[in-house]
């Protein structure tokens, strides 16, 4: 017994430091999520409470009418619907076109395949600020500038080279026997893809789909420019910006609008965490 005591205390001591560390990390985590807690709390307060209440987080009485004000007067009902339409449509287009392109680029060599890949890699990181002017001009000429369809096409046509390359890498890694077997069974090119390859690529589809969804939901620059002359086309991120401009006194309404806009994407994240994290981790892992 006496012999083991020093070792026990040492182990206890080591565990003690782990708990200190945990406490520090908890404090840091609190700072990390504080802006969100504060926003939720502000969305349920009166204006006077926000200004006079200092750091207090608990509202005196819950002011649910802040939400109805943001929802109806702030037009976040429309903005949220726009965001859902734009995000779902863009994600669907991106997943389909990236799966198709990734499949042929990953599995086949054909005239021009190297050139296509080289161009894609070279343009991997084009920032919106660089291409925005011609995109607007082009959309104007196509008559798509003041429409959700124009916004969707512009979003679906940019910034998803990474998705094509992720698909290409995944399809390339599939065994060649799969293809040979399906050809022996008499399946053609399209059927091999839709009935064998595509169902097998569900993990990649989930990752690409969720990352595109996140990216599109959060997009700001393109929706901002596309809804300049028609406020009815605003997405939540643009609508929030406009709300601040028009209602700079309505802090609680703004906080409520923020909660309305962030809630869906945070909920999606909580349910789909694994895919979010794996998608991003894939960037360095190999």
């Amino acid at each position: 017994m006496t012999a083991t005591t020093p070792r026990t205390t040492r182990r206890l001591g080591r565990r003690f430091w782990w708990w200190v560390l945990t406490a520090l990390l908890l404090a840091l985590a609190f700072v990390w999520v504080f802006p969100f807690i504060w926003m939720v709390s502000a969305s349920l307060k009166t204006s006077g409470e926000i200004f006079g209440g200092g750091l207090g987080l608990i509202p005196e009485t819950l002011q649910w009418e802040n939400y109805s004000r943001a929802w109806i007067d702030g037009r976040f009902n429309i903005y949220l619907l726009n965001t859902v339409i734009v995000t779902v449509a863009t994600t669907a287009i991106v997943v389909v076109r990236c799966a198709l392109a990734g499949y042929v680029l990953g599995r086949y060599r054909f005239p021009g395949s190297r050139l296509v890949i080289a161009i894609l890699v070279a343009t991997l990181f084009v920032p919106t600020g660089y291409t925005i002017i011609p995109v607007v001009k082009l959309s104007m000429e196509l008559g798509l500038l003041d429409s959700l369809a124009g916004m969707i096409l512009a979003l679906a046509g940019a910034a998803n080279v990474a998705s094509i390359l992720i698909y290409a890498g995944y399809f390339r890694g599939m065994p060649a026997e799969l293809e040979e077997a399906s050809i022996v069974d008499g399946a053609g090119f399209v059927r091999t893809f839709t009935q064998i390859m595509l169902p097998l690529s569900m993990p990649v589809t989930a990752t690409v789909g969720i990352l595109t969804f996140l990216f599109t939901w959060n997009a700001f620059f393109l929706p901002l420019v596309f809804s300049f002359s028609n406020p009815a086309l605003r997405t939540v991120s643009v609508g929030m910006q406009a709300f601040v401009g028009e209602n700079s006194t309505d802090w609680p309404g703004m906080a409520a609008a923020g909660v309305i806009s962030l809630l869906p994407i945070v909920a999606l994240f909580v349910f789909m965490q694994r895919y979010f994290v794996e998608g991003i981790a894939g960037a360095v892992k190999s």
């Binding site: 782990w18 945990t22 990390l25 985590a29 990390w32 504080f34 802006p35 969100f36 504060w38 926003m39 200004f51 200092g54 287009i93 198709l100 392109a101 499949y103 054909f110 890949i117 161009i119 894609l120 070279a122 990181f125 919106t128 660089y130 291409t131 002017i133 011609p134 001009k137 082009l138 096409l153 046509g157 940019a158 080279v161 990474a162 094509i164 390359l165 390339r172 090119f189 399209v190 959060n218 700001f220 620059f221 929030m240 910006q241 601040v244 802090w251 923020g258 994407i265 945070v266 999606l268 994240f269 965490q273 994290v277 991003i280 981790a281 894939g282 960037a283 360095v284 892992k285 190999s286």
Partner: protein, 325 residues
Amino acid sequence: MASPTLIAETATRSGSAAAKAAKRPGQRSRERRRNLWIYVFLLPTFVLYGLYTLYPMVASYWYSLVEWNGFSSQQTFVGLDNYEAVFADPLFWSSVRVTLLFMLIVAPLRVFGAFALAILLNSPKLPLRSFFRTAYFLPVVTTTAIVGVVMRFIFDPASGPTAALATIFGLGPIDLLGSSETALITAGVIYVWKFFGITLIYWLAALQTIPADLYEAARIDGAGPMRLFRYITLPMLIPFLLIISVLTIEDCFHAFDLMQTMTAGGPFFSTEIIEIYIYRWAFAASIPQLGFASAAAVLFGVIVLLVVILQVWATVVSRRMRARS
């Protein structure tokens, strides 16, 4: 967000699965039909990516050579005048300086801060690990433009919690985002907070690639935690340091959403990054100067291109390093 290694592999090994055997006549026609399908599969990407990314990249060069207000279809060719004007504008150089300074604040904080945190979060002995990962990752998924507005709120000198905190500590009134001396640093710190989770996940993924038996073998040889870290963890992570740094630097070019909603480039242009400069001339001005803004955009593209070249170099070097170790 694609793996650089993946890209390199796709580029070098693409299509190796197909068509190596000598071609017989019947095979040739089958191959032609196959190629037809391949181009059909690529068509949506050709159209969308071509129209909305490739064409604009080329068109920017043309627009940068004309004078054009965007309303009329009249575009007057002015040669390099726009470039001359951009070069002569002190605010352009200020925006370049702000962008680079921003990067200098943000990138090291993200890369090394996330590294330290990843080391802690990677230890199986730490309680609540998955909770911490979720909490630190949360800002990443939230809409940047909305976070920008919320931050204006949080840092509001009259009613925000930071002002209340400052009063408690007796610092008096502070306006961190509203003063030109502190705005850029404050914005940088907020940006770090917003995207810290991505870099953290990068590092955690990198740590996962170290084989566990390396640690075991060293532990059997009697190495303590400090030595394990010094002689196994650190050397194994150096190749990743390059990749993660470049990915993070590249990320710093996408600060438009946060900056525009938080400070709109102010006060006194102290947070005006290049993207805001372009936006201001192309869309926010009463008489847009699209040719001028395009010239700035092209110069911006050149800076980004330099970083992409750096990216390719970093990928090659780190692959070589990992192959050796």
